[in-house]
Symmetry: C2
Subunit: 156 residues, 2 copies
């Protein structure tokens, strides 16, 4: 059985290779039952996709490889503490456990402002940097009623 | 010039159609300079991708259509208040403004537990549902040093 440090080294290696080759300096590995099911790096600028963080890419790859949208039984190793987007994605994917190496201070020194987004989450909605406003609240339940009435729906 | 309510109706329509056709009951539109650049719905179960929320799909589509990873000047209309993953994605994408219709209570009634993830974010790391642990901290800065030393890096 390989150790957690072994898998973390793989994630860090992926991050370093990415940084050397024009990608973002972040890597991620997902492991299930002692076998790797995804290893990825950050491809935001390469793919023109601001959601293409290493962890999001890894979750998408693991789901594709396993043919599921639920990653129960999986452990995620990320070279740096997940940002709020990636941490929430781990919840939606039902990842069992997360290991990280660098933290948000390491990321900030390199110019990545994950901590700023965490701080925004702590603010009341009306004080946040991106204005967010509710409109058409009376229609907010329409899609949910259609969903509840669809007996063929796939719950998740 | 079309109104915000007009674009919100489009997002809600996308959500309702999705709910009727086996997708999740969420829709999203992104508009730039009065023109739609993305309209999507939640495809988690259809695509086996837990990250495929309507807003993530819309951000990816808009970036693809516009050939960029920065959505400055864009407004995002979502049929339901963004979950933490999607809200953080709006920050990474530099969306200008967010409008939503349903809120997290509407979502909870339909069985979607966005609020639970928001609550997890407020807890100290060691009290969260998904265990998260730091290992190999001495290696955490390695990818960032490679990044800083790569003069060809594309910052974002």
């Amino acid at each position: 059985m390989k150790t957690d440090k072994y898998w973390m080294d793989k994630a860090i290696n992926a991050a370093e290779i990415s940084a050397l080759c024009g990608g973002g300096p972040f890597g991620c590995a997902i492991v299930k039952d002692g076998r790797i099911v995804a290893i990825t790096s950050n491809s935001v600028t390469k793919d023109n996709d601001p959601t293409a963080h290493a962890e999001i890419n890894a979750i998408r790859m693991a789901c594709k490889n396993l043919g599921t949208f639920v990653l129960e039984g999986c452990t995620l190793y990320t070279s740096c503490e997940p940002c709020p987007m990636c941490l929430a994605a781990c919840y939606w994917a039902h990842i069992d456990k997360i290991f990280y190496s660098g933290n948000r201070d390491d990321a900030a020194i390199a110019g990545f402002d994950d901590d700023h987004i965490y701080e925004e989450f702590r603010l009341p909605m009306e004080e946040r940097e991106i204005p967010i406003e509710r409109i058409s609240p009376e229609k907010g339940s329409v899609p949910f009623l259609a969903w509840k009435n669809n007996e063929d729906r796939v719950e998740y």
